[in-house]
Amino acid sequence: MAELLQYLITGISVGMVYALIALGFVLIWKSSSVANLALGQIVLISSWFTYSMLVQVSFPLWLAFPLVILFALFLGWMIERFALRPLIAQPILALITVTLGIGYLIEGVVTFIWPWSVDALPRLFPREVVRIGPAVVSQEYVWVVGISLAIFMLLTLFFRYHKMGIAMRATADDQMAVQACGIPVTAVFSRSWMFACMVAAVGGILISSIGGITHGLVQTGLKAFSVVILGGLDSFVGAIVAGPIIGLAESLGGGYLTPLTWAGVKDIIPFIIIIIVMIIRPYGLFGEERIERI
């Protein structure tokens, strides 16, 4: 019985990590209908930049953190300006492939600047674990849960009430109408990419505090896709809800199925969930069903 509680807690906390990355993805999809397959690599390069600031240049935390945020904003602006703006009206294959190309490019840049592929951030969170009954969870995870929920609240409020947020939703719906109203569509895209990269950077700092900075951050980004699909591509609520669901499925499924089947079953569960969701309910739990007309 004690393991059940541990599996539940671990599942929820790991799931919130995925949800945090998924929020960045949903943000870009919601405002420009572009699927950002380079999200894992953006998380990676932000984590390396944080390492650079904290360890290589040894800035104190209060200086390094804003610099990382600025870097993420700059990265988002650059990607949007140089790779996505020329492709504004192109078919979706071109957009997806260009993000794949960007991902590849970022990986190369990371290897170029930091050729040793594994490192660790200095300890940002205290070591002691938080005890919930017989189960334990490390402090980084508590922060992850807190920050994910905070970002979720911020984004939801932003999209509902702020002028820019409403403009983003409008752009996703109908670009031409938005332009006719005088809202600069390019500024909308630019802002959404900048914010998404910022969210990815925050996620990167938290995740690399847990597991170190490795190439595995990219793979964690891939698992976040299953969260996005389950929750619905254009729904923040979906990301926050689906994240723990996938985390629990991994944890409980792995926990109870592994002794019965093969070791490593835990890793394939998110992908099987993707296939099942595609067949049953492609738009996810909270996604908006798109109706297509000829």
């Binding site: 674990v129 990219v218 002794p259």
Partner: protein, 421 residues
């Protein structure tokens, strides 16, 4: 166009000339004749494994440079290295080895076991001998033309388990061992050895073994399962980052300190101590097949000198030591073979030269590798060149050796029907 017929005629004639001349052109590429001995080396200096492959490539070339410049090559014959990068891609390493064969290399060396597994078929079929730095059971069992420079991940397990049984385990009966493996040959190499040798060594394995990926962010769930089984010892065969995460999780759920933990040689590096924190990994055992930088062995001085001179960024990198030793071993093979059959037999290249290298070179090896790792002695039926490792322990944030060279016994994997071929 008036000149259309003329243009067509000229195009057709020139194409025909090119077609006829191509065979002649390509065969006329003979290089300057020099009395060299050729070897081929391919390393993953770009691509996903570049952080290991690049220093290894540097070390290979630096060592050959040292031999050519200061020792005059092999009895006056310089060693010519055909060095190609393979980008950790199977298809590329295949084309590289085919090129080595074409250009009459006498033997070839690669760094990683995955690269060697992609080319071992071609090399074995042609009888082209090869040396791989990081070994794996499938490469040298059953023994053919591929030789492993260092003990493989299975040997790590047997050596550690032997040490554990002799020095750490104090109870009656059999200790229970849990395994946590990376989901690739690094991890599963240890499982193969465990399945083959556990009974013999007197250890009870907790099966199925737990598995993890390189990008794992939490192993609390698998460690909870392990904790339920109440093991005495846990063996983790993985790379530094996931190992660090497992260690942190083990401390968090109270599994460690408590059980004894042993690591394979891929995991017990300085990166582990950095990522996990010295307090987490205190007292962890590990197995490693080479010496450390700064140890007092004969080969350390020259290696340090060349490293500082040519590639100062690589100083402190353990893979550099491995590849420097690999080049030394390849040179020694050439030296012994040249001594036994003479230069002319080797210079011809081709199958006879390869056979000579194997039977009169590799299989007559008895070399101490200048103390850089365990001695290299060939025993028939065993294609591992160096079979010894040392046990280390993390003490106060440093990885210190606590034994001398221990030899890992040979495991004949192919006798077990679960061993894939």
């Amino acid at each position: 166009m008036r000149n259309k017929k003329l243009i067509t005629a000229i195009t057709v004639i020139s194409l025909a000339l090119v077609l006829a001349a191509l065979p002649l052109l390509s065969s006329a590429c003979a290089g300057p004749e020099e009395q060299t001995l050729k070897i081929g080396i391919t390393t993953p200096s770009t691509g996903p494994a570049a952080e290991k492959g690049a220093p290894m490539g540097h070390a290979n070339l630096d060592a050959i440079k040292y031999i050519n410049e200061e020792l005059g090559g092999i009895n006056g014959h310089p060693i010519e290295v055909i060095w190609l990068d393979n980008g950790y891609d199977a298809a590329k390493v295949v084309t590289n080895v085919k090129r080595f064969q074409d250009e009459d290399a006498l033997l070839f060396g690669t760094s990683s076991s995955k690269m060697m597994s992609a080319v071992m078929e071609i090399a074995n079929r042609a009888g082209f001998p090869g040396i791989v730095a990081f070994n794996a059971p499938v490469l040298h069992r059953p023994p053919q033309h591929i030789y492993g420079q260092m003990p493989d991940y299975g040997d790590d397990w047997t050596a550690f388990t032997r040490y554990y049984m002799e020095n750490v385990w104090k109870g009656p009966g059999k200790p229970k061992m849990a395994l946590h493996l990376l989901n690739n040959p690094t991890g599963y190499g240890a499982l193969d050895a465990a399945r083959a040798a556990a009974d013999e060594l007197g250890v009870e394995l907790i099966l199925p073994a737990e598995e993890h990926t390189t990008d794992t962010i939490s192993e609390i769930e698998s460690l909870t399962r392990i904790k339920q089984q109440d093991p005495d010892v846990l063996y983790i065969s993985s790379t530094p980052a996931p190992t660090a995460l497992i260690m942190k999780n083990a401390v968090e759920i109270g599994l460690y300190p408590g059980v004894t933990i042993g690591l394979g040689h891929a995991g017990i590096t300085k990166a582990l101590v950095d990522i996990a924190g010295a307090d987490v990994v205190e007292g962890v055992y590990g197995v490693f097949p080479t010496v450390n930088w700064g140890d007092n062995v004969p080969g350390m001085a020259k290696m340090t000198e060349y490293c500082q001179k040519e590639h100062p960024d690589d100083y402190g990198n353990m893979d550099y030591i491995t590849s420097w030793a690999q080049s030394l071993i390849m040179a020694e093979i050439l030296r012994v073979a040249e001594q036994n059959v003479g230069y002319d037999a080797l210079a011809k290249g081709g199958e006879e030269a390869w056979q000579a290298i194997e039977t009169q070179g590799i299989q007559k090896l008895n070399y101490d590798v200048e103390g850089l790792h365990g001695p290299v002695v060939y025993t028939p039926g065993d294609n591992r060149l160096s079979k010894s490792v040392r046990i280390f322990q993390v003490q106060g944030g440093n990885i210190v050796p606590i034994t001398d060279w221990i030899e890992a016994p040979l495991v004949k994997y192919e006798e077990f029907d679960w061993f894939g071929q």
